[in-house]
Symmetry: C2
Subunit: 243 residues, 2 copies
């Protein structure tokens, strides 16, 4: 059986102006190759509703999967979610599940939810959320289209969570452990835990909040008991510093 | 009057597989911005005749200029020139002007022209050549499509020669001086010459040949006398080492 095929749609004026060098295409290309999915085409379009809709509809009709990056942030030029909904003829509004993820994240941070942040909870009807272990605002899958953030750290975290669900393997479980310690302090113990759990994937997504360093550790695997055991083992090494 | 618009078509399986990280898109994006041309769309397609023809025809019908990179080398998978010709319905064969450029280059090198190298002289009828100061094999412009190499050093040299011809400025003259010295020895004097000729652009394209270092210096400007004077001044600094 031939490999599934894929396209990528990169959305962003900052790439086309040369202000920002795209990093996501190269990352996704390598990850898809490792996953046995053939990337056949990439398009980069500007922050323009009609351009996104046209490119999206051409790509999703041609290839098995379409991965998008960019345009799902809080500012007025983040129009990807609405364009995707329009391409599918799907209704879009703030969705409770996405709003709850954001609200919990901002509550932990002591940050106020405002109208701009709430835009990131706009999710088309029928879409399933893609986890964002870095900054909470989720991506989503609608049909054969996987909509992800443009910030490379977030894009990579979303790809890491999404890809194993596409390759026909067993369903993947994930748990997140927040550790309020610099990543350099976490790396050694985390490596030991990872070595002791070769059946799991452990990703570290560092953050700085109010000048203090921490990391969200995402533990993924197919056996819920193994995932929980790894999380507990890691948490035991940082007493009083995890949540 | 609004800026002219442009698209880029990147051709190459090695980009889509993640083996190679594309460098040309970011370079072209920056150069177009500086030149006052708006890059509106980029597509990356594989080394596939039908895919190249379809993408090329869509892009050239939509935007003022289309810049392509990749697929004009000597190997069997370098199919860009033939695909462009097909897209335009133009005849393509080895052309005498391109063959002469290659033959002179290989004669200087003591390299044999063979069937593979001769493929790089295949140019569609009606196209004008784009200079390649690095490795001789030319790119070409056909209609509003500018066909260039994928190797970043060559791509950048071609863009440097091509862009000033597109922005409505005075026609650009260019002369090349080969200096058989390491670029590190050339850089200082070259900088002085450049400073003394602020109306000219001086580019250095280094090479290694049979283990010896050298560079082709391309001098561009609108006044032939100034270009010739700068070339003579530079050559005088490296007696017996230029050609």
């Amino acid at each position: 059986m031939p490999n599934p095929t894929a396209a990528m749609l990169v959305i962003g004026d900052e790439i086309l102006s040369g202000r920002t060098r795209d990093a996501n295409m190269h990352h996704l290309a390598g990850e898809l190759t490792r996953a046995g999915i053939d990337l056949k085409e990439v398009r980069v379009v500007s922050d323009d509703h009609a351009a996104i809709v046209a490119a999206l509809n051409a790509l999703r009709a041609t290839w098995d999967h379409v991965f998008t990056s960019g345009g799902i942030g809080p500012t007025h030029d983040d129009i990807t979610a609405d364009a995707i909904a329009d391409a599918f003829g799907a209704r879009i509004d703030v969705r409770d599940d996405a709003r709850a993820l954001l609200q919990a994240h901002y509550d932990r941070q002591g940050t106020e939810m405002n109208a701009a942040r709430l835009r990131m909870a706009r999710i088309p009807d029928g879409a399933t959320l893609i986890e964002n272990p870095v900054s909470a605002a989720p991506g989503f899958t609608l049909g054969n289209v996987h909509v992800m953030a443009g910030v490379p750290q977030v894009f990579q975290a979303m790809v890491a969570g999404l890809l194993p669900t596409l390759t026909g393997g067993a369903p993947l479980i994930s748990e997140t452990l927040r550790i309020d310690r610099p990543e350099g302090d976490i790396a050694g113990p985390l490596g030991d835990i990872a070595a002791a759990h070769p059946d799991l994937s452990l990703g570290s997504y560092p953050f700085i909040r109010d000048g203090r360093y921490g990391a969200n550790i995402v533990i993924r695997g197919t056996d819920p008991a193994r995932v929980a055991a790894a999380r507990a083992a890691l948490a035991a090494l940082f007493p009083g510093q995890t949540s």
